[in-house]
Symmetry: C2
Subunit: 408 residues, 2 copies
């Protein structure tokens, strides 16, 4: 039986039916609905010879033994955010099932093929995303901190995962991995704006995330002349406009976002005393990212001086850019061109399990398929059926090319 991309679309709709309510997908990790989805996936793989095992981090592995123990991994995550979309994560695993079927059908493959359904990619319950892939990659360095996390209902993370037979011990599952492939919806507007179905992902952005507090002086809005004000909101406003210029100057896909400002006292009769800004900067190039951060800091200090206010920076979180494998990027490009005529290379703004796998040293690449209106993490998330079918074909072609390359 040859590859049947239409079946993938039908199965995704079946999963949607099973796990969606009126607010969207509810396949939140460590819930009953999530377990139902895993059970459903188990049923789909059953027709192949792949053996299932669940590792200590809760990742669900389906292994089709090949002539070599060296393994080609195809991965995704069936978990969703609460009120999520039908494709984020699940596309990867369901398309992977179709590729697995096609390969199994053709006999014993040269390499071992492993389909992995990573546990809790979204971090929806405990705020730790890439949970399963981090554990499998042995990079979950913050386990003590994890043990103390509780969900909104007060259940501790270790207790919640133990109910699913999961322990927190980190250990590498990636020893035999020769390559890792992941297909995902873009969750952004780039491919749609270029009118392209598919793109190859160069890597995941490095991220610098900071809280920036401007401090001025509260003063009566009626009795304080303009030239005697120390307005913290002026600092935040000027920085918001400045970071856009920094991103433009930097180029190369640079993005800078001020995601929120909290003003205090925040009343109509007072000049703003403190303005606390959330800044997110991303770039695929580590040096460019460092330079954007430095530029934003210098700008904030110049603005503070000119406005006679103070500024203070606090890092919330950061991560280095993670670059995918050059040779696999080329193969992915070929696979896409053969499938859809035109390819496009783009970075990934959001993080993905692939970043953890790549960080662990496994040659990795991702494919993006167009997202309608760039929407994700909402029930409005969607991709055209014909694009989903092209994506399954491209993933399958990429798997074939990768196997051929690894078998040389």
């Amino acid at each position: 039986m040859p590859l049947d991309p239409a079946r993938t679309v039908a199965e995704l709709r079946e999963l949607r039916e099973l796990t969606e309510d009126e607010n969207g997908a509810q396949r939140v990790a460590w819930t009953d609905t999530w377990e139902q989805a895993r059970e459903w996936l188990r049923g789909k793989v059953a027709g192949t010879r792949a053996e299932e095992d669940v590792d200590a981090a809760g990742n669900q592995w389906f292994t089709l033994r090949g002539r070599s123990d060296r393994a080609l991994l195809i991965g995704g995550h069936i978990d969703s955010v609460p009120n999520g979309g039908w494709l984020d994560g699940s596309l990867n695993v369901v398309a992977g099932v179709e590729v697995l079927r096609r390969i199994a059908e053709e006999g014993t493959p040269e390499l071992t093929i492993r389909l992995v359904n990573w546990a809790d990619e979204e971090g929806a319950r405990f705020g730790r995303s890439l949970f399963g892939s981090s554990a499998a990659a042995g990079s979950m360095a913050d386990q003590d901190e994890l043990r103390s996390r509780v969900d909104a209902g007060g259940t501790a993370l270790p207790d919640a995962v133990a109910a699913h037979g999961v322990e927190l011990e980190a250990h590498s599952q990636l020893g035999s991995a020769a390559a890792y492939l992941e297909l995902h919806i873009e969750q952004g507007p780039v491919l749609e704006s270029l009118d392209l179905p598919l793109g190859v992902v160069l890597g995941t952005f490095g991220v610098e995330r900071h809280s920036i507090i401007f401090r001025g002086q509260a003063a009566h809005a009626g009795s304080t002349p303009m030239d005697q004000r120390r307005d913290a909101l002026a600092g935040a406003s000027r920085l918001e406009l400045e970071i856009r210029e920094i991103a433009k100057r930097t180029g190369g896909g640079a993005v800078c976002t001020m995601g929120g400002v909290v003003t205090k006292p925040g009343i109509v009769t007072s000049v703003v005393e403190t303005a606390e800004c959330l800044l997110d900067q991303r770039h695929l190039d580590a040096a460019a990212l460092a330079s954007m951060l430095e530029e934003a800091k210098r700008a904030s200090e110049r603005i503070a001086q000119e406005e006679n206010i103070e500024v203070e920076w606090q890092r919330i979180w950061n991560i280095q850019p993670i670059l995918f494998d050059d040779a696999l990027i080329d193969l992915a490009d070929e696979a896409i061109r053969e499938t859809a005529g035109t390819s496009h290379r783009l970075p990934s703004g959001p993080l993905h399990d692939a970043a953890e796998v790549a960080r662990a040293g496994v040659p990795t690449v991702m494919l993006f398929v167009q997202s309608l209106r760039g929407l994700s993490h909402t029930k409005l998330e969607d991709t055209r059926a014909e694009h989903l079918e092209l994506a399954v074909q491209a993933l399958d072609r990429l798997a074939t090319k990768t196997l051929a390359r690894l078998s040389k």
Copy 2:
């Protein structure tokens, strides 16, 4: 006994002792502490021949009959905001007692002299400021709305004021008023920055107060290229910077304030979808104020268009500028120059009971005394004792000049 300005300072300290806790003054209208302060004031006036009566709005009147029923009014308010300062409001009534004593001492005055302690100037409990003076001026047009107000403890305004013998019927107390004088701390930094103790107030600013909502599109901070964003915060930021230019261009003491911005979703990983701004614009000239509002509206629409976002305005509140009496302004200028050598004319940013009295057609003027660091509505509010004494002298001189002018 001649005027004794030092006694006023001593009495203000006595009142402070009586009504202040570790967080500041607690003379909030319609509370026991407020009633205590009124009782204390009654005791201070007792030595004069002035007769007390409390009107239907809760205003406390002390009337020293003169040869004519035409009356010179001197007014202030003993109520404070919660955790307020020792001078806001109380300076006016306590200085007024001293002037009343001096006039009473000299025999029967030509005109009747009335010292009024307005009820609930601050509107601290029900959010309706200038309560007593509005009622007395017959301008409390919104009584039905007032009846439905409740305080934070759930007590309805009519019940709360009834406990103090007060009804909401508006009726004019100002029929016989020939002039109204009010002394107040500046609550702003202007006199201090000019190193002057006293100033004469030209009137109270007109105010335009609006809520302005910019609406863009929430989008992933990592996956949305800069040129595809519809960032509501960019709209708010550009308007915040624009209103400062509008105020500068307009001049004449114009002030424009963005007192707060609320951003939604307001998370570090998303472009801001809505930014709700609070705008306050003030000017002493009605045409200039209208023009500032128009300029801000036009700017917001131009910004919205350039940023590909939407903007919506909603008026929160407005009031026309209220100009004080030219002849009384000249007399006040004279009184200040004779007392302190130099005078200065300035508008009032905050509203005062004097605005209600002026609006009712009574020739009105106010004196400002320097506020240290411009602070008010906090226990840090302060004015140097020597400036308070000069203020009592200037008020007394102004009363004498006004009586002389009215007796012609």
